[in-house]
Amino acid sequence: MTSRHSGMVRNHQTSGAQMRTGKSRDSGFDSAHRPGMTLEPRKDKGPMSVTALSTHGAIARQPSWLVRLFDYKPFLIVMCLAPAIGLLTVFLTYPLGLGIWLAFTDTTIGRRGTYVGLENFQYLLTDPLWWNAVFYSVVYTGVATFGKFALGFWLALLLNNHFPFKSLLRAIILLPWIVPTVLSALAFWWIYDPQFSIISYLLVDVLHWRSSNIDFLGSPWPARFSLIAANIWRGIPFVAISLLAGLQTISPSLYEAAMLDGASAWQRFRYITFPMMMPILAIVMTFSIIFTFTDFQLVYAITRGGPVNSTHLLATLAFQRGIAGGELGEGAAIAVSMIPFLVFATLFSYFGLARRKWQQGEAND
């Protein structure tokens, strides 16, 4: 035990020296990967900490102890940040840069590509399938986001009332969000079956509203809307529960004041609920837009882009060209072409967020 402690101290001193030269991130990376080590209580150097529990001593040595604190804190910070930053650098930042680089090369699986400039993008601009995917990605995101938020907000308002079994209901409602998307997508695939669709059965044999089965996935527009419906189904719980959290932070006294002033239910919603919900709506909507626009699983599971490539999203097209087709460069170019849309959504989020002091350290320091 003691030997390990002294080892810690030595380790700390060397890395602390490197810290000042700015190379600390790499040096911290190796040792910090062994988490047990960073969690060990670190024994203070010198005789001071031996009598640490005596109050009298603590007051007497406060200044020098603070000096020591600042002496080792940078090292501790580096050690603590190293695993997270290391993982994110190797598996997120580097691939992001690599992806952008790949988009400018003609790499295929098994062959290193050479730099070809904007050729991939020029090709994409003349590719009707890419335009088709952009079109459907935008439609998919727009319609699905609208549906999710309209229905999700409604559900949140409903859940904000008092009724029995409220927490049970809240738990059940989240199920579509918990269950693996691909598996619920398979259930939708079965629900959309051309012959044995349960919806067709209801409409044709039970309600007699139609005379023939609906061909959900056989032709472009019905397939597109079937996918959007499945996406809305999956997204409602997340939106509803997030917005419910926002609704619960609104002070009831605001509503009381408005009611005293004679505001109608609609006015209370329009002038209190909605403005108070704006910041949280902005955040949730940004997340929703980003993850709907880059959605992959639902489309891949249900239609794989068909019929006749009409339901390709940019992500599924990138997969088809990049991984299945082996054209890594072109697939990367398709993936990169999603970035402008995402930057737009993130900026939207940033300005939505900036209205509240969300960054830590500003409000409570």
Binding site: P41, A58, C80, L158, P180, I241, I290, I323, A332
Partner: protein, 298 residues
């Protein structure tokens, strides 16, 4: 003056309004009916999934003689087929391994990172926090192609280890953000007391901050577990051999064969693949909801 005049009329208006709102029929129409529809629609696919898994094939394909909403002769044939004629148990264990591995890794990394950002304040710590938050906004759909080449470079292609290492890219940002919020809610005075008593920073983390942050750690753990259980695109791109696939990928790529779909087996596979997360979720549902809402509120 105007206030005192307006007061009585406003009161008179508001009172019947609230009474009407609370009246039974209106409440039924405005709250319970729409809620019922929501619950029905949100749960129906699961009901349909479950009932399909236990239906014999004859009933599955014949709506004329059977009520499709019910089973007249339930069977375990689909589940038996799944468990004994396919590699399903193997897929389940792989998925479990990947989910537990990546959850552990991300929890350790994000606890330390959140502690450093929130408690060991340093110049630029808000920017590190912002950077980690922005990492959450990078979707896997952009990364999977270059990541596939990175995984091949590391010699991890077709290995579950690749997934354990890659999943933290979306788990760490979320967990860090969640835990920053949790650490923030722990009174700083507790740490100051410990500091005065001569505890070191790491003793404080281990003895004071972490025990108080256990609910946050549980939330982050559950969230990570479900997210890695559900992950699809990386598992699809990085795993080639049938035996190493995770449940969501394997069901879609190994069970969907030919033109005639084995809907019974497919739905049984989906049901069994959903059950672990559903059970796990039901055990910790309050933590899950609070993590979801807490993360949004942050």
């Amino acid at each position: 003056m105007t206030d005192t005049v307006a007061q009585p009329t406003a009161d008179a208006k508001a009172a019947p309004d609230t009474m009407a709102w609370d009246s039974g029929l209106r409440r039924l129409m405005m709250i319970y009916l729409p809620l019922g529809c929501f619950v029905l629609i949100l749960l129906f696919p699961f009901y349909w999934m479950a009932i399909t898994s236990f239906k014999p094939n004859a009933e599955l394909m014949n709506y004329k003689d059977n009520n499709p909403f019910w089973i007249s002769s339930p069977t375990l044939a689909h589940i038996k087929h799944l468990l004994f004629n396919t590699a399903y148990p193997r897929w389940l264990t792989t998925t479990m391994l990947v989910a537990v591995g990546s959850t552990t890794l991300s929890l350790i990394a994000s606890t330390l990172a959140a502690y450093a950002i929130e408690r060991l304040r340093f110049r630029g710590s808000p920017y590190v926090g912002l950077g980690i938050y922005l990492a959450y906004l990078v979707p896997p759909s952009i990364l999977f192609i270059p990541l596939a080449t990175v995984v091949v470079q590391f010699g991890l292609f077709d290995s579950p280890l690749a997934l354990i290492l890659v999943y933290p890219t979306f788990l760490v940002p979320f967990c860090t953000w969640l835990l920053i919020g949790y650490f923030k809610s722990i009174p700083y005075e507790l740490e100051e007391c410990a500091l005065v008593d001569g505890a070191t920073r790491l003793q404080i983390l281990r003895r004071i901050t972490l025990p108080l942050a256990v609910p946050g750690l549980i939330s982050a753990g559950i969230f990570s577990f479900t997210l890695s259980w559900n992950e699809f695109i990386y598992a699809l791109a990085f795993i080639q051999s049938g035996a190493n696939k995770t449940v969501p990928v394997a069901i879609l790529t190994e069970l969907v064969t030919g033109d005639v779909y084995q809907w019974g087996a497919l739905m049984a596979g989906s049901l069994l693949g959903s059950l672990p997360v559903a059970i796990f979720y039901s055990l910790f549902v309050d933590y899950y909801v609070s993590s979801l809402t807490g993360a949004v509120k942050e």
